[in-house]
Symmetry: C2
Subunit: 324 residues, 2 copies
Amino acid sequence: MATEFEIVEFLRTIFPDIGDDAAIFKLKDKGIVSVDTFIENVHFPTIGTSIFSLHDIGYRTTVATLSDIAAMGGKALYLLVSIGVEKGDRTWFKELYDGVQQALNMASIAQGVEVKVVGGDITYSKNLTISMTVIGEAATPITRGGAQPGDKIGVTGEFGRVKLAWYTLKQGGVLPDWLKIKLLQPQLRLKEGLTLSHHVHAMIDISDGLLLDLSHILRMSGNLGAVINLDKLPILDNVREWCEKQGLNPIEYALSSGEEFELLFTYPPEVEEQINVGFTPIGEITHQPGIYDNKGCKLTPRGWDHFARRTNPPNTPPTNPSTA
Amino acid sequence: MATEFEIVEFLRTIFPDIGDDAAIFKLKDKGIVSVDTFIENVHFPTIGTSIFSLHDIGYRTTVATLSDIAAMGGKALYLLVSIGVEKGDRTWFKELYDGVQQALNMASIAQGVEVKVVGGDITYSKNLTISMTVIGEAATPITRGGAQPGDKIGVTGEFGRVKLAWYTLKQGGVLPDWLKIKLLQPQLRLKEGLTLSHHVHAMIDISDGLLLDLSHILRMSGNLGAVINLDKLPILDNVREWCEKQGLNPIEYALSSGEEFELLFTYPPEVEEQINVGFTPIGEITHQPGIYDNKGCKLTPRGWDHFARRTNPPNTPPTNPSTA
């Protein structure tokens, strides 16, 4: 067991910029900052009891944190990592930070600018607690509040795998590779976010679930509404088949699956051809509040709420499907 | 019990800048950023079992976080607050954030510029966990690494009350006002830090204990040493009397008391007259490594180490006095 001091000195050999009261940084554009906290048994299972290695936790929490910068159409530049842990030696920290660094390397390549660890904090905690702060910059930060009636709604990637993976694990099932890879090695949409920032009116990353995150955009844009074409939702054939085999509704899974880290955005229809990233148009922003499907049925946002979770964990199958 | 969404909406009525994927901010000078995590039963006792109210916790954690900006000679501008809590309603969050706001008001007045809450995160956690990120700016950030041989060592305020207060509580004693106020309402040295930034070579805030924090300066300045004049240590008469009554060594308490949030700095002797803040010169930086007292006895840094704490809590009396 190393002391806190020894761990910090060890980490300084990997991240030479850490170690003062505060980290010094420079920005060229407007600053953007976001913080995310991840707690053992809430955001990830206890290490050693599941398929998640420490490396996986380091990677996934970093992707989740940087995803907020992607959602603003920005570049991530500086990361501060705060760890609360019961006991950790150099090997323990090395494995965790190797996962962090893997995500940072991926981010640096995607955005063409390096993002690096510049600070943090280590403390004792019975439950492993990871709190990450990312500072980035954006020439034109894209908020949740810019959607306009008539905008089309687009999403990157496809949906449903994360919720289906948690459900499968909960049932004691084994994850096929196409589920496992989404849970352990989610993609980061920094490059897509940067490109989209030139075209879109509003953007968010899917952390709570597609419908719930869409409802955030609608509320922040002045209580607008939306119509979602359920036939257009990007869902893998694997997901459809796996759901059908178990009597689950793949649409429900796609609409409420959280921590997908895909981007959800709205854009004026006339720029659609210019958007040079892979995405799927799934609907339209409307004056009339509420979210409806293409048959006129109301869709109720449902997803991840940390306090509601205590009685209804997000990784259990929905008892009240949100697709009415 | 409110949902996470309801709490965020409630907090937006107090802090209108929160609520997007990331907060947008602007800086004029060099940016400085620091993060601090505080965990129930580690950094503060369980609420309801001690003299700490939620308001006190909010105040104290904010002071601790902003103190890192003071130590850089900067101004605090933006705060992000990440809360992990088992259950919390509006009243609960209101009380905590009233304490946060009290510290922010004090900081804003001290530095002449407003510091405000711009973001954060709320999650479920069995143990109350508070992680705060502060972004500030400084024309000339003062690091720990600039001390030079021949520099004098100065400190703001006086030392020992925090450790003595924890010891008294641990013994089941009642805190007199002069101990209680230091624990519940510590001062923030932002104004002093700003003034000092024009004169000092190196600076740190006392969070681990005077000797241990001095050792950080010495190490980061190229393995220098120091001589401390123990007769000059600023210690309240109350502290001396309270210690003597209980057979404790007040010097030991002054040298190892953590979370004092006072500033420790080094400066060239010739500027001493120009430093326009209240402080006490307590020693000198030397070429020879190691910390010695004015009688030539070696002083061993001892203070707060989060991992060591598990076997030797900082709030218990020292078994091996560090003043050899």
